[in-house]
C-alpha cells in the first residue's frame, strides 16, 4: 500500500464542508491540496476553520459535505492515521508521565515493538533537547518544554505527513528557531507538513506554499511569490546623484519621493523597472549604495486577503537557522540519527 509515496497528494480536500449543531458553518467548501514533501503554511484568522480542517483530517470530526483524503485514504481512515503525525495546539497529557512514558504510550498505539519504542523515544528526546529532564514528570515542565514533547510524539511514527497546529506556541526565540530548523530538515527528508501558525514570519521563512483560509474557504493559495503582490515600490540610496540622474529616475517611475539625504522612494510599474533604475543611477555617475524593492510581506498579503486593515507593521526580520535541539554540528549537517537510517520516513 502506498501512503503518499507515489506522488499522489498527501492531503486532498474538495468542497469540504462542516456545519456544527446549531448551524455554525465552520467550513464552507474548502479546497486544499498538499503534495508529498511539501511544507504548506495554513493561515487564517481565529475562527476561520483551521482547527476544524485539521480535526477533520485526523478523523476527530466528520464532514457534513465534500470529501477529504489523507495519504490516499479517506480522512480519518485508520491506515491513513498510521502515516500521520499530529501536534495539537494545546498538547495535553497525564502530568504524572515522563517523556519516555508518554512516547511509550503513543508507540504502543502505533503498534511499535518495545525495543523500537525505546530506541525512537530516546532519539526523539535527544532531538528535542530534553535528555537532561527526561526523568521528570511532565507536570513539572514549562510550556515550551511541553511543546517539544508534543513535537517528539508527533514524529514518533516517522510520519509521511505532519499536521502541526501552532508548533512554536510557548517557545522562546531559540526554541522557535529550532522548530524552524527541524521543519526544514523534515522537508529535506521528504516529509510533508501542514503548518498552522500565526507566526507569519515563520511561515514565510520555511513554507513552499501557503493556503489562506477565511470563513471556512481558502481565499488564496500558492507559492509565496503568487500570494504577495509584486514590488511596485523601490527604495534607492545613492551618493552624488545629480539633477540629470534624478530626471532619469523620474522618467522611469510614476512617482519619485525624497526620503532623506541621498534617499528616495520610486513607484514603478513592475519589478522589471528595478535594473533600469540601477542602470540610470550608475549611468549618471552616482554611487549606488542600496536598491531595495519593497515587497509586500506575507502579513500584509494576509491582512489584505482576509479583509483586515493592515497596520503597516512588517513581518519580523529573517533569522538565521541555528542548531537543532541536542544535535551537534556534525549531526546537524546529516540530520538527526533516525533520519540517516536507510529506512524512509513512514
Amino acid at each position: 500500500m502506498s501512503l503518499g509515496g507515489d506522488g499522489a497528494p498527501v492531503i486532498e480536500a474538495r468542497a469540504l464542508t462542516k456545519v456544527y449543531r446549531g448551524g455554525v458553518r465552520a467550513l464552507d467548501g474548502l479546497d486544499l491540496l498538499v503534495r508529498p514533501g511539501e511544507l504548506v503554511g495554513f493561515l487564517g484568522p481565529n475562527g476561520a476553520g483551521k482547527t476544524t480542517t485539521v480535526q477533520l483530517l485526523i478523523g476527530a470530526v466528520r464532514p457534513t459535505g465534500g470529501s477529504a483524503t489523507v495519504l490516499g485514504r479517506p480522512a480519518g481512515d485508520r491506515l491513513a492515521r498510521r502515516g500521520l503525525g499530529y501536534l495539537p495546539e494545546q498538547f495535553q497529557f497525564p502530568g504524572f508521565l515522563t517523556p519516555p512514558g508518554l512516547l511509550d504510550f503513543h508507540g504502543r498505539l502505533l503498534g511499535l515493538p518495545r525495543d523500537e519504542r525505546r530506541r525512537r523515544a530516546a532519539e526523539l528526546i535527544r532531538i528535542v533537547g530534553l535528555e537532561a529532564a527526561a526523568d521528570r514528570p511532565l507536570k513539572s515542565y514549562s510550556k515550551g518544554m511541553l511543546q517539544r514533547v508534543g513535537l517528539a510524539q508527533a514524529l514518533l511514527g516517522r510520519p509521511a505527513l505532519l499536521l502541526l497546529d501552532e508548533p512554536t506556541s510557548g517557545l522562546d526565540p531559540i526554541g522557535t528557531r529550532n522548530v524552524r530548523d527541524l521543519l526544514l530538515w523534515l522537508k529535506s527528508q521528504g516529509v510533508a507538513v501542514l503548518l498552522n501558525s500565526h507566526l507569519l514570519s515563520e511561515v514565510e521563512l520555511v513554507c513552499d506554499r501557503v493556503a489562506i483560509i477565511d470563513r471556512g474557504r481558502v481565499v488564496a493559495e500558492g507559492r509565496l511569490g503568487e500570494i504577495v503582490r509584486p514590488s511596485t515600490s523601490v527604495r534607492i540610496r545613492a551618493a552624488d546623484l545629480d539633477e540629470a540622474g534624478l530626471a532619469a529616475l523620474r522618467a522611469l517611475s510614476s512617482e519619485l519621493v525624497a526620503e532623506g539625504e541621498g534617499q528616495w522612494r520610486a513607484e514603478v510599474d513592475s519589478p522589471e523597472a528595478v535594473p533600469r533604475i540601477a542602470a540610470a543611477v550608475v549611468g549618471a555617475g552616482a554611487r549606488l549604495e542600496a536598491l531595495v524593492p519593497a515587497h509586500e510581506t506575507l502579513e500584509q498579503a494576509f491582512l489584505r486577503l482576509v479583509g483586515a486593515a493592515p497596520d503597516g507593521a512588517a513581518a519580523a526580520g529573517q533569522a538565521t537557522p541555528g542548531p537543532r535541539w541536542g544535535i551537534d554540528a556534525e549531526a546537524r549537517r546529516a540530520g538527526p540519527a533516525w533520519g540517516r537510517s536507510s529506512e524512509p520516513p513512514a
Partner: protein, 305 residues
C-alpha cells in the same frame, strides 16, 4: 510438522496480526486509564472512607465479641453470625468500590474531550471502540481489584478470628464485582456523551432510583396495587445491580436473607418482598455487553471537539 506450519500460517495471518495490534492498543489505553484512576482524588477519598469503614467494622467486631453473653450467642448462631457480619462488611466494601469505580469513570472520556487530550490519541491508528473498551477495562480493573482485595481480606480476618470460613464468599464477591463492572460500564458509556458533572449526576440518580424500587413495592403492597408491584419489580432490570446484590445476599445468608431484605429489595417481610430470580446474573452479563456496545456506538458517532 503440519501443525507447526498451520500455527505459523495462523500467527502470520493479517487477522491474527490485526488482533494482536488491537490487543496492544487496548492494553495501552487500559493501563493508562488504570494508572490515572489509581492516582485520582476519587480513589484517595475512597481509601480514606475505607479506612474509616474498616475501623468501624473492627469496633463493631470488638463490641460484639465483648458483649455480655457473646459466647453463648456465638455458640447459638454459629456460622450464621459470621455470615451476617460478612454480609454487613462486604456490603459496605461493595458500595465503596462501586462508587469509587463510578467516580473514576464518569469523566474518563468526557474529560479527555473537554481538555483536548483525546485528539493526540485519535490521531493514532486506533479505533474508537478500542478507546471506549480500553477506558472501561482500566477503570473496572482498579475498582474490582479494590473490592476483591478488601473483600478477601475481610473474609480472611473473620475466618482467622472466628475459625469460621464461609466458602461462598468468592462467589458473592464475584457477583458484587459484576455489579461494580456494570456501574463502571454505565459511567464510561455516559461519559461518551455527557459532561463529567452531568454524567455523575445521571449515574447516581439512576442508581438510587433503580436500586430502591422496594419502596414502590411496599406502597403497592399497602394499597394492593398490582401495577405498582410490577413496576417496582421490573424497573429494577433497567439497572440490574439491585437484583444481583439481592442474589449475593441470598447466597451469603440463605433463608436468613429475608431478615435483612435480601432477595427482596430491602423490605423485611416476605409478603412485600420483590421476587428474586436466579438468572439475573446472566441477564446482567448481557446488560453489560449492551451498555458497552451503546457506549462504543455513541462515541463512534460523535465529533470530538
Amino acid at each position: 510438522m503440519t501443525t507447526r506450519s498451520t500455527a505459523g500460517t495462523v500467527l502470520g495471518s493479517p487477522l491474527w496480526l490485526a488482533t494482536r495490534e488491537s490487543a496492544g492498543r487496548l492494553a495501552a489505553i487500559a493501563s493508562l486509564s488504570a494508572r490515572e484512576a489509581f492516582r485520582s482524588r476519587s480513589l484517595v477519598v475512597a481509601l480514606v472512607l475505607n479506612l474509616l469503614y474498616l475501623g468501624l467494622l473492627a469496633l463493631i467486631g470488638y463490641a460484639i465479641a465483648n458483649a455480655p453473653g457473646a459466647q453463648e450467642a456465638a455458640d447459638l448462631l454459629g456460622e450464621t453470625g459470621a455470615r451476617f457480619f460478612l454480609w454487613f462488611a462486604l456490603g459496605g466494601a461493595s458500595a465503596l468500590a462501586l462508587f469509587t469505580g463510578v467516580f473514576t469513570s464518569v469523566g474518563s472520556i468526557a474529560t479527555e474531550i473537554e481538555r483536548g487530550t483525546i485528539l493526540a490519541v485519535v490521531a493514532r491508528p486506533i479505533a474508537r471502540w478500542e478507546i471506549v473498551i480500553g477506558k472501561f477495562l482500566g477503570n473496572a480493573l482498579i475498582a474490582v481489584a479494590y473490592l476483591l482485595v478488601e473483600g478477601l481480606a475481610i473474609a480472611a480476618a473473620v475466618g482467622l478470628l472466628s475459625g469460621i470460613w464461609v466458602t461462598v464468599v468468592p462467589l458473592v464477591l464475584l457477583l458484587l464485582s459484576l455489579n461494580v463492572v456494570v456501574m463502571v460500564a454505565v459511567a464510561v458509556a455516559g461519559s461518551t456523551r455527557l459532561s463529567t458533572v452531568a454524567n455523575a449526576i445521571t449515574v447516581i440518580v439512576l442508581y438510587l432510583a433503580l436500586t430502591n424500587t422496594a419502596i414502590l413495592q411496599l406502597i403497592g403492597a399497602i394499597v394492593d396495587n398490582e401495577g405498582l408491584r410490577l413496576l417496582a419489580d421490573w424497573s429494577r432490570y433497567l439497572l440490574p445491580v439491585g437484583p444481583v446484590s439481592d442474589l449475593a445476599t441470598e447466597i451469603l445468608l440463605g433463608p436468613a436473607a429475608a431478615m435483612v431484605g435480601g432477595g427482596g429489595g430491602g423490605v423485611p417481610g416476605r409478603e412485600v418482598l420483590l421476587p428474586m430470580r436466579e438468572w439475573v446474573w446472566l441477564y446482567e452479563l448481557g446488560y453489560l455487553g449492551l451498555v458497552i456496545a451503546l457506549g462504543v456506538w455513541s462515541f463512534s458517532r460523535r465529533d470530538l471537539r
